[in-house]
Structure formats: structure tokens, C-alpha cells
Point group: C2
């Protein structure tokens, strides 16, 4: 089968279109935000016909879902500061910047928002955080090796607990967040872990 | 000024319309969920003309915002089980039921979802949680009086920390929740509070 027919190898037309469309989606999000995202605008910006977009991604929410995985995949460098509290604080400060800096927040905000509108976007968010949990477990694994927390501490639960208060303020109680709040949530997770709260 | 002109006293026409519209909004949400909510359907169900609805509530998101405050206002009985962990577990179990039971979840899910679409809905959610925080502080105030946690523990931070992991799984990592998870998050918050994580 020729690559003209399959078109899906890296560098092929399908792959070039995919990159053009998802890049255009990220650019549109950065410029106009999620409520303003339309398939038509992404089609125009990418130069790919909108019937192709509807066929492959279904909707604006489908584009956001794909862009989330495309835009962030494999980019997260898990913090390694020498202490669990330092690592979790670094993670929480990144989150805080990522969701509040207007230059960076369009995609993450769109990802959470679109997950309420589309099962595909919700699946994409779930997949993204499962990947983060898997990578971020290293922070607690190292802390166990250093003797900072009990050996039976659940590494993913530590991450959830550290990050959760930041998200709670962002999307539930709708209160402001800052680095002091990020640090306090990290510290609380470490203290709870030391006390055995996250034993498997 | 006559009540015919102001129309806003309890029992007046404006108040009757308000109750009819917000009740219809809650019923529509319960039957069809948030993505299916339209101003037209609420107008038809309530018998109030849709131009009145648009003028007063602006949009479907505006209706959800008003229904959130109308439907839950002053209804929460703060748990009082005799221990902080018992109280926070009860709160978290209520949350878990409230967001996962199909018979109850339509309004709370719509409230969070619509807060991404509308500043009015976000304000309403913020107001709702500020009220919950104010009431729920009693749980930690009692625990301080019993000597369970340090006297300088921030009562609202304890609530945020206890509830946050439930919401994180619901709306960020999109993982399932259950009573065991609700209880574990409550216990972690208590252990962190005992260790001084939420000192004011």
C-alpha cells in the first residue's frame, strides 16, 4: 500500500494536516479562548477543509481533546528538588502558573471546560492525568527511598492530595490561587503522608 | 409604591414567576441535564414568557446560576458527629452522593459546568461555596474546642483540603469516586490539621 493511500506515516499528508490543524487549534485557543473556538476558524487558519475536520475530530470539543494530548504530551519534567515537599511545591507552582498566566492558560482551561461538553474531551483529560500520575509517582518513590514517608505510601494519592486544593479553588469555590497556596497544599500532603494517610 | 408596581414582595407576581421559572429550571435539569437546557423549554414549562426570562436571567447559564442559589440555599445541615474526621467524612459522603446519584447530580453538575460558560454562573458558584465554607467552619471550631486539632487551625482550609480530592477525581483526573475515597480524603485532612498544616 503506498503512502499516498494511507497517508499516515510521519511526514505524510495526513500527518501534516494533523499537525497543521492541532497547531491552529492551540493558536486559536491562545488568541480567543475556549468559548470562542469554532471548527470554521480552525479550518481557515490551518488551510485544511472543514469537512475533514468534522470527519476526523467531530466538533470544537474534539479538537480541544486532541490538542490537549498533542500540545502537552511528553513535555512534563517531573520536579526533582531533593525533598518531597520541594517537588510537590514545584508541581503546584507550575499548575498555578499554567492555569493563571493568560499566555499559558487557554489550553488547560479549555481542556477542563470542554470535558463537561464532550465525552471525547473528558476521555482525553482522563488520559492526560493518568499519564501525569504515572510520571509523577517518581516524586514519592524517591521520598520513600530517602525515608521521608512510610514505605507503603501511595505515590499517586500523594499527587492528587497535593494538587487538589489548587483545583478546588480554581473550579469549585472559584477563589484566587497563588504560590503561597500552592506551597501550603504541598506541605499539607507531605504532613498527611508522613502521618500514614496514604498507606496503600 | 404599590406592590402591583414593584411586584417583588413574597407572593407577588414577580416572586411567583421567579419560583415558577427556577422550579422549571431544576425540573428541566433533572430530566435532561445541563447540555440540553434551553431558555425556550424553561419558558414553556414555567408558563412565563421567554422574553421575561431573557430579560431577567439572560441565558441558560444565568438560569442555572439562579437555580443553584434557589435550589440549595440554606439547606445544608452541617454534620455534627462528635469528631472532626466523622464530620468531614459525612460531608464528603454527601458530596459523593450529590455528584454521582443521577437523581441528584443534575444541578450540581450543571452548576460547575456552567461556571465555565458564564461569569454570572461562576459568581453564583463562588457565592454558594463561600456560604458553605462559612457554615462548615463550625466543624473545626468544635474540634478545636475538643482539643482534636491545634487552636490556630484555619477552619475553612480544613474543609477545602477534605473536599478537594473528591472534586479532583470528579472534574480533573476524571476518576471514579466512592465512600472509601471520601473517607480517606477526610482522614488525610484531619491528620494534616493535627500536624499543624493549616495554622492561620
Amino acid at each position: 500500500m503506498s503512502t499516498e493511500l494511507t497517508g499516515s506515516r510521519p511526514g505524510g499528508r495526513t500527518e501534516r494536516n494533523r499537525v497543521a490543524v492541532l497547531t491552529a487549534t492551540l493558536d486559536e485557543l491562545a488568541e480567543k479562548g475556549y468559548p470562542g473556538l469554532t471548527v470554521d476558524a480552525v479550518a481557515e487558519r490551518s488551510g485544511v477543509h472543514k469537512t475533514t475536520l468534522y470527519r476526523r475530530w467531530g466538533s470544537a470539543e474534539g479538537l480541544v481533546a486532541a490538542a490537549l494530548l498533542f500540545g502537552i504530551e511528553h513535555r512534563w519534567e517531573v520536579p526533582d528538588t531533593g525533598s518531597l515537599e520541594g517537588d510537590l511545591s514545584a508541581m503546584n507552582r507550575e499548575l498555578t502558573t499554567y492555569f493563571t498566566d493568560p499566555a499559558k492558560s487557554a489550553l488547560p482551561l479549555a481542556s477542563v471546560a470542554s470535558s463537561f461538553q464532550s465525552a471525547k474531551a473528558a476521555d482525553s483529560l482522563r488520559e492526560y492525568y493518568a499519564d501525569r500520575h504515572e510520571r509523577g509517582a517518581a516524586m514519592t518513590v524517591r521520598a520513600i527511598a530517602r525515608g521521608e514517608v512510610p514505605a507503603d505510601t501511595d505515590p499517586v494519592e500523594v499527587m492528587r492530595q497535593a494538587a487538589a486544593p489548587v483545583f478546588y479553588r480554581l473550579f469549585i469555590s472559584r477563589e484566587p490561587i497563588d504560590f503561597a497556596i500552592a506551597d501550603r497544599a504541598a506541605r499539607a500532603a507531605v504532613l498527611a503522608a508522613k502521618a500514614g494517610a496514604f498507606a496503600v
